[in-house]
């Protein structure tokens, strides 16, 4: 970790441990970690994500005690969990909604990283590990969604595995290998359960690397300016344990609202129909957190190109540290980048909105529109295309090619402390303070 350790073993057992396995020193250094003193609430989502991962692992291990990963028994065992197991309904609703909460938090965390330039040197590897965690999360969530073995589970598994079928030559045999049969069936369910149990521990390992990589350069901060002296930082504990703890508590309120008052709001009723390989549900959509990619996939009329575009959308996230070469980290001091970023954020929401609709649904029900190439201009297909185009435009054109020539960044502060000390709310002792305006 960065900086010399200030821990001094006080008791005999601590001294004994310290020269053998210094876990107390390790924990003490983590708690004492010098953290920029200006981190805002967007920085609490790391702690929130740790909370989400632990919640998912604990509830998941419990669900696995009662779940039966067989083609004939999976659906019934989920009903058994909901009806018969003590508090099974609670544990399953926490796990199912916990996945959505996890993704809400990870999206905030990712957008935070983009906005404040947290991916820039020397944090590129930190960013790459984070992006890898996100990909493994998506895989884990997908495998988990298959397990109840309802209609949405079955057909979701079918569609997602068939995405790999788009690859030339190796595609079809790859799909057969993935699903273990002519099509998705009981063998698929069994292996997906195995992988769904495995991957969270892969995530936990990656999170360990992510935190390690974070603790070498230390946290970025809202100004994006490097920590210059000890006066720019505070120890992680108690300052950020308390701040993160408060944020986790607030987040738990949102979480509990879903679990107790609208546990099925993010699900789909069709998943309470047992898997039927002979009938596809009329309206099939992935879970909300995958909708933007789903919209990109459907925006492109060619199968292979659609799959490539979807993979490319994720690849852009990985490539961001090498696409954005601005020397200024925080978009606080990048007026143009901020504008494109806000449009990009809205664009992602639009993509999600498109993914939730049928491609040929009308955008404005009253208007007839007109035919442009293969589809009506007044349809979600065209909105998806425009939105998908902006998605790639943002990553591949604006960030590396336009902004370096058009943007003049605002002057960034000398140090983390400067904007705080010069802030009108910070007044000398004795004067009337206005704490409500602080920050």
């Amino acid at each position: 970790m960065s900086g010399p350790s200030t821990y001094e073993p006080k008791t005999a057992i601590e001294r004994w441990l310290d020269s053998r396995l210094p876990i107390v020193r390790f924990s003490a250094d983590l708690m004492d970690f010098p953290t920029p003193k200006n981190l805002n609430y967007w920085w609490t989502f790391g702690g929130i994500l740790a909370f989400c991962l632990i919640t998912q692992i604990i509830t998941g291990i419990i669900l696995a005690m009662h779940y039966n990963a067989s083609g004939g028994g999976a659906f019934a065992s989920v009903q058994h969990i909901m009806r018969d197991v003590n508090y099974g309904w609670l544990i399953r609703y926490i796990h199912a909604n916990g996945a959505s909460m996890f993704f809400i938090a990870v999206y905030v965390h990712i957008f935070r990283g983009i906005y404040y330039g947290s991916f820039k040197a020397p944090r590129e590897l930190l960013w790459l590990i984070g992006a890898a965690i996100y990909v493994v999360m998506m895989a884990t969530a997908f495998f988990g969604y298959v397990l109840p073995w309802g209609q949405m589970s079955f057909w979701g598994a079918k569609v997602i595995t068939n995405i790999f079928g788009a690859l030339p030559v190796v595609g079809p045999p790859l799909v057969t290998w993935l699903v273990g049969g002519f099509t998705v069936d009981a063998p698929t369910l069994n292996r997906f359960f195995s992988l769904h149990y495995l991957l969270p521990f892969v995530i936990a390992g990656l999170v360990g690397l992510h935190i390690w990589a974070l603790h070498v350069p230390g946290n970025n901060n809202p100004t994006g300016v490097n920590v210059k002296s000890k006066s720019d930082t505070v120890p992680f504990h108690p300052y950020y344990t308390v701040k993160d703890g408060f944020a986790v508590s607030v987040f738990m309120i949102l979480f509990a609202c879903f679990v107790f008052f609208m546990p099925e709001a993010l699900g789909h009723v069709d998943n309470y129909i047992p898997a039927n390989p002979l009938a596809t549900p009329a309206h099939i959509v992935p879970e909300w957190y995958l909708l933007p990619y789903y919209a990109i996939l459907r925006a492109i009329p060619d199968k292979l190109s659609g799959v490539i575009a979807m993979g490319g959308a994720i690849a852009c996230i990985f490539a961001l540290p090498w696409l954005d070469r601005s020397r200024v980290r925080s978009m606080r001091y990048r007026p143009q980048a901020k504008l494109y970023f806000i449009i990009f954020f809205i664009d992602c929401l639009i993509l999600g909105f498109c993914g939730a609709h049928e491609p040929d649904d009308k955008l404005w029900p009253g208007s007839i529109g007109f035919q442009l190439f293969d589809s009506n201009i007044n349809s979600f297909v065209w909105l998806s295309r425009v939105a998908a185009a902006y998605y790639f435009f943002y990553f591949l054109i604006v960030t590396p090619l336009i902004l370096p020539f058009t943007e003049t960044p605002l002057p960034a502060p000398e140090s983390i402390s400067t904007p705080v000390l010069s802030h009108p709310a910070t007044v000398p002792a004795g004067a009337v303070a206005a704490p409500e305006k602080k920050g």
């Binding site: 604990i58 509830t59 018969d84 003590n86 508090y87 544990i91 006066s231 108690p238 002792a429 303070a433």
Partner: protein, 189 residues
């Protein structure tokens, strides 16, 4: 508590915090956290207790008339073997004769059957040592010839009343709760 803030930069706009107020906040936060964790932990613990469908397997009915004299039928009761034994007069006589013998878990044979139904011995077929199912051997295998059950796992020997006579088991074979609903029909549990 107060020491933990000593390293922080002093806030010029505020006087030193009142230590008792700070202690109160600490205690209140910790108490709320402990209470919250306990409330969350209970469902996570209780889920391992028997579920509703397991508890629903509570009682069964069985017509003992199907069991011939000298025969034993093993029925599944709460996922465990239930011995329904139709004892011969010789077995009953042996059991009664040993009522006042040296017993590890003293019980009379009459206390182990329903009044007037001493030919029907209903037992939970689980050795009280470590849970194996004893075999009825009629005194052929066990060296002491108690004429009852012999547990293959660790050699516990039960007599014709299901009482422990030898080996490591501490208790007699357990009697389930049951009643004779009619002359020959029992309801167990």
């Amino acid at each position: 508590m107060v020491e933990s803030v000593a390293g922080a930069s002093a806030d010029p706009t505020h006087a030193a915090p009142d230590p008792s107020r700070r202690d109160f906040i600490h205690i209140a936060v910790v108490a709320a956290a402990v209470g919250g964790v306990a409330a969350v932990a209970w469902p996570l613990v209780d889920q391992m207790n028997p579920s509703a469908d397991t508890l629903a397997l509570s009682s069964i009915e069985y017509d003992v008339a199907k069991v011939a004299l000298g025969q034993q039928v093993t029925v599944l009761y709460r996922k465990q073997p239930l011995f329904v034994r139709h004892r011969t007069p010789k077995e009953i006589a042996e059991a009664v004769a040993d009522d006042h013998a040296q017993l590890r878990d003293p019980a009379t044979d009459a206390s182990r059957v329903k009044p007037g139904k001493s030919e029907w011995l209903i037992l939970i077929g689980v050795c009280t040592h470590l849970g194996c199912t004893p075999n009825f051997d009629g005194g052929n295998l066990d060296p002491g010839h108690y004429g009852g059950w012999f547990c293959p796992c660790h050699g516990s020997v039960y007599d014709t009343s299901g009482r422990i006579r030898k080996g490591p088991a501490p208790k007699n074979l357990v009697l389930p709760e049951y009643v004779f609903e009619t002359g020959t029909k029992i309801k167990v549990g």
